[in-house]
């Protein structure tokens, strides 16, 4: 969907520390509200971005500090696109697809409740499109939310 030129764009780069993730999250939420998108939609996009960057810090870089996570926000006439990139360990595409699906548990049985692995499902549920690719050692998660 990147055939047209974005109206506006901005890139944030943070060091791979969990403490830094919210800095990008709150910035993306403020950008969404300025478009303007509704607060609940803006907050959900913030949640997706936080999940994506946290995944990069936790899983691509295994919580190792000193690496960069780059987040580019592109605003088009009809959508917002967010690209989250790292140069760490790539996600397994099969695992990625599996985790995007429904979270399976029995509500009445606490032993079956998940305590992790919900991030991709949350992102997939909130966004209209979600792609993951690795090229030249760079992993990029692309998230798209269309304007209604």
């Amino acid at each position: 969907m990147e055939d047209t030129h974005p109206q506006k764009s901005v890139t944030f780069v943070i060091e791979s520390r969990l403490e830094n993730v919210s800095l990008v999250g709150v910035a993306v939420k403020a950008i969404c509200e300025s478009i303007p998108l509704e607060e609940i939609i803006s907050r959900n996009i913030e949640l997706s971005v936080v999940e994506g960057i946290t995944n990069a810090v936790k899983h691509a870089y295994c919580l190792q500090q000193g690496n960069n996570v780059e987040t580019t926000v592109l605003i088009f006439d009809d959508r917002i696109t967010i690209k989250i990139s790292d140069t760490g360990k790539s996600m397994d595409p099969q695992r990625c697809e599996q985790d995007c699906r429904e979270i399976n548990f029995e509500p009445g049985n606490s032993e079956t409740l998940p305590v992790g692995g919900m991030g991709l499902h949350i992102m997939h549920s909130i966004m209209d499109e979600m792609h993951y690719e690795t090229a030249s050692g760079k992993n990029t998660m692309t998230l798209v939310k269309k304007f209604r």
Binding site: L18, V21, S22, E46, T54, P107, S110, G116, M118, I122
Partner: protein, 112 residues
């Protein structure tokens, strides 16, 4: 991560002081909850009035607390904001937790 807490009878009310429960504080939050559960607090009201944002790591810490309580007690959530409620709906955790409007009603639910 800072929390406020008070005991009403045998019910512990926990109120996180942070506006965000995300991956940077989830482990600390979970540790504080598990410490209190291991100390015998099996009926807990989690008052989320001051919390604007929870991510999947924060949610995982709350689920871990419920699992640690087991079948001998319960964890009830109250005063949750709509923006945070969305996360519970997306993950279907609104079917797992009792989510109640006010702290007073949450206390009643656990007293019964």
């Amino acid at each position: 991560m800072q929390i406020q807490e008070k005991k009403v009878g045998n019910i512990l009310i926990v109120k996180p002081s942070e506006k965000r429960i995300d991956a940077s504080v989830a482990t600390d939050f979970k540790g504080k909850m598990i410490d209190r559960i291991n100390a015998g607090n099996k009926r807990i009201v989690l008052n989320l009035a001051g919390v604007d944002f929870i991510d999947s790591s924060g949610l995982g810490a709350i689920i871990s607390s419920l699992k640690a309580i087991g079948n001998d007690g319960d964890l009830v959530i109250c005063e949750i904001k709509e923006t945070v409620m969305t996360l519970f709906r997306l993950t279907r955790m609104n079917r797992v937790f009792q989510i109640i409007s006010t702290e007073e009603e949450a206390l009643k639910a656990l007293s019964g």
